[in-house]
Amino acid sequence: MTSRGREAQGVASLSRQVERLRDRPSLDLSVVLCTWNGERWIRPFLQSLGDQRRLPDELVVQDDASDDGTVEVIRSMAGSMPFDVRVEVNPERVGSTANFALALERSRGRFVALADQDDVWYPEKLSRLADEFERDPILTLVFSDADLIGEDGRPLDHGLWDTRRVGGTLRRRPIVSEELAATTALTTGCTVMVRHRVIEAALPFPAELDHPVAPMRHDRWLTLIAAAVGTVEAVPERLLGFRVHSSQETGVLVGAELPRALALGISSNVLAGDGRRADGLRARSEQLRVAAERAELLGDFGEAATLRRIAGDFVRRARIDEHGRGRFRLFLEGLRDRSYRLDGWGIGAAITDSLRSILPRSANTGIDSGGGTRG
């Protein structure tokens, strides 16, 4: 596209953005719940929602074409819930991220909490997170830690953050930097509450999120946008029971599974087939570029520049895989330009890239990355 074309598109997008401002939240607090074949879990979740100390004004349900009794259970309980329940069923399955986009579009609250069908919320969850927003108007997204619970609802004696290896960082630095949000999956949707204007900036979800190698889920996208156009805060309390079970779409690994999966993830990252890994890095780069455009539209020029810089870092890392010669030089350039953060993730990426830049290319081909770490 020519620069004039881009400019024209920018103005058009800006107008759309301003236009969207006219459709404003009319309620205080919404909960958006996406469901799919969750008949087994939905009842305890809805009960925990009804027991909240601060009740929502509405529950927006978006069912992704369940073929079990999920919707019937919800409709049967809706009349007894102390708030408005609005159920919509997709004619065909669209997937979790697209389903959340539909649900978020329908939400009308100033604050919007995201919910999964299989969790159990503690009574103070909504009030605790909403209080953070009331207390500090600069916050755009807040999220908490969670207890892991088993299929039977019993605690597994693990916390979500620590299992995902983000607990130390989030407790030390409760304000999530834009860089961290851009490079690391930190949030899990059901722990998140977001201010409506972040939804306005995040929607529509760009097509770039739906990438076969490096998809970006709705929670990560919202966090990225919220950090780029505002302030994201981690609340260290565990405000819900996060159910771990075999049929969930995004889960966590506990006990002996975790170190095994981490080792597999690291080794598969180092040895992954060139094309696949480079594709993933380029996809991430594109996702960040779209986020940068959204930030720029709202006038967050510095934040947009930061996202573009990190997107460029991802491209350079992809080129380490793609280049025949000079790969180690590319890695050194990355070090020089401080492309790797001085934390566990950054150091891990640097080690991976350094190894991949010196491994013979023949060793880098044909080895599928297999299943990496989830989330």
Binding site: P137, R173, I175, L298, G302
Partner: protein, 387 residues
């Protein structure tokens, strides 16, 4: 008569800024029968040196870093020569410098630290170096925002009884009986338009884009009734300024804007305005809200900072959510709809609120009490950490 307490007021520099202005106002207004003041900039001087009272001596240390040991010796000499009884530092850089001077034994005077940190929206961590400087090098912590006080207790680990909220004040004399600038005449603005002044250097934190987006939500008749004059440096961040002007043009609101640049006659400029506006992303004050009220102006100010929080809902202005163009637009619209006599009444209420709560003399009296209690505690070997 008892000997006056000798106070060393310290900050980084004397460039124009909110924290610097507060430090100067306190230095100028301490009771001269009880206090003697020396002002020390640990890095360099600046234009605000000229605004210090005649009896306040200014010294510049020109330090290059917190660990500038040579300058610590200079500070030691200054404190000894002037027989300083108490140090009042502003800004975290200078606080750490003073804390280090105390840790090395170069300085023993009790230390009151006045925290104006305005980056809570991106950083609420308390790294070890900062925690230790606060815990071991500061006797009394003054936060200009309740969120800072909360941070000092929960993140930095200071005992709650050493932490005090100290809202900023304004020197009312600067805004009394001024000769207003005729802004319509100076900038060629329509006679019938409502002139709204935004006081904000072109820096990202001031979030001009939210104002522009808010203006774009106004209807054509509303736009024609409103002229925005933006006062503030355009050179502080040239890229940001360029982005702002391009955005204003894209949104078609540039014809409503007059960029006036930096002005050294702010009280007179505000005297010639009909209203004020500030749309910052995050502030701990902001002082400009007090300046609007001192100038008897109704205002729109995003709900961020201790001062805005205090006056929110008291009928002196509109306080929409920060970064929310729709809410800012709504507030502007409501202000434009307000009849002139009602706007003037709002302005008068603001002036009365400043006189009763935010007059610098009231704030300074509270600070004098803090000095007295700090000195008492330190002498009694109580809560203070002074050697």
């Amino acid at each position: 008569m008892a000997e006056p307490t000798r106070v060393l007021m310290m900050n980084d520099s004397m460039n124009v800024g909110g924290a610097e202005r507060v430090a100067v106002d306190i230095a100028n207004s301490l009771d001269r029968d009880r206090f003697e003041v020396t002002f020390c900039s640990t890095r360099q001087g600046g234009p605000l040196v000229d605004t210090l009272a005649d009896d306040v001596d200014h010294v510049s240390l020109d330090r290059s870093a917190t660990w500038d040991l040579r300058k610590i010796l200079t500070l030691r000499r200054l404190v000894r020569e002037r027989r300083i009884d108490l140090i009042h530092s502003h800004g975290r850089g200078t606080m750490k410098f003073v804390a280090l001077a105390r840790a090395t034994g170069a300085v023993r005077a009790p230390h009151v630290f006045h925290d104006h940190f305005g980056w809570l929206h991106v950083n609420r961590s308390a790294p070890r170096g900062l925690r230790e400087a606060l815990q071991r090098g500061v006797d009394t912590y003054l936060g200009v925002d309740q969120r800072l006080c909360d941070w000092a207790v929960t993140a930095a680990g200071l005992p709650a009884d050493r932490v005090h909220l100290m809202r900023s004040g304004v020197d009312l004399d600067r805004f009394t009986d001024v000769t207003p600038v005729d802004l319509r005449d100076e900038f060629g603005l329509p006679e019938e338009s409502i002139v709204v002044v935004m006081v904000a250097n072109f820096r990202p934190q001031k979030d001009h884009p939210t104002l522009f987006r808010a203006l774009s939500t106004l209807t054509e008749p509303e736009r024609s009734r409103c002229s925005i004059v933006v006062v503030g440096s355009t050179t502080a961040d040239p890229e940001y300024f360029a982005g702002c002007t391009a955005m204003a043009a894209d949104l078609g609101v540039d014809d409503m804007l007059t960029i006036a640049g930096s002005r050294d006659d702010l009280p007179e400029v505000l005297g010639g305005a009909d209203a004020g506006i500030v749309t910052s992303k995050n502030e701990t004050g902001p002082l400009v809200v007090l300046e609007f009220m001192a100038s008897s102006l109704p205002f729109v100010a995003t709900d961020t900072g201790e001062i805005t929080r205090q006056v929110s809902g008291t009928g002196v202005g509109w306080t929409p959510a920060p970064r929310d163009a729709h809410e800012v637009g709504e507030a502007l619209r409501e202000m434009l709809r307000t009849p002139p006599e009602e706007r003037r009444a709002i302005g008068r209420r603001g002036r009365a609120a400043v006189e009763s709560t935010f007059d610098q003399r009231i704030v300074t009296a509270a600070i004098e009490d803090v000095y007295a209690s700090t000195l008492r505690s330190v002498r009694a070997g109580g809560v203070g950490n002074s050697p």
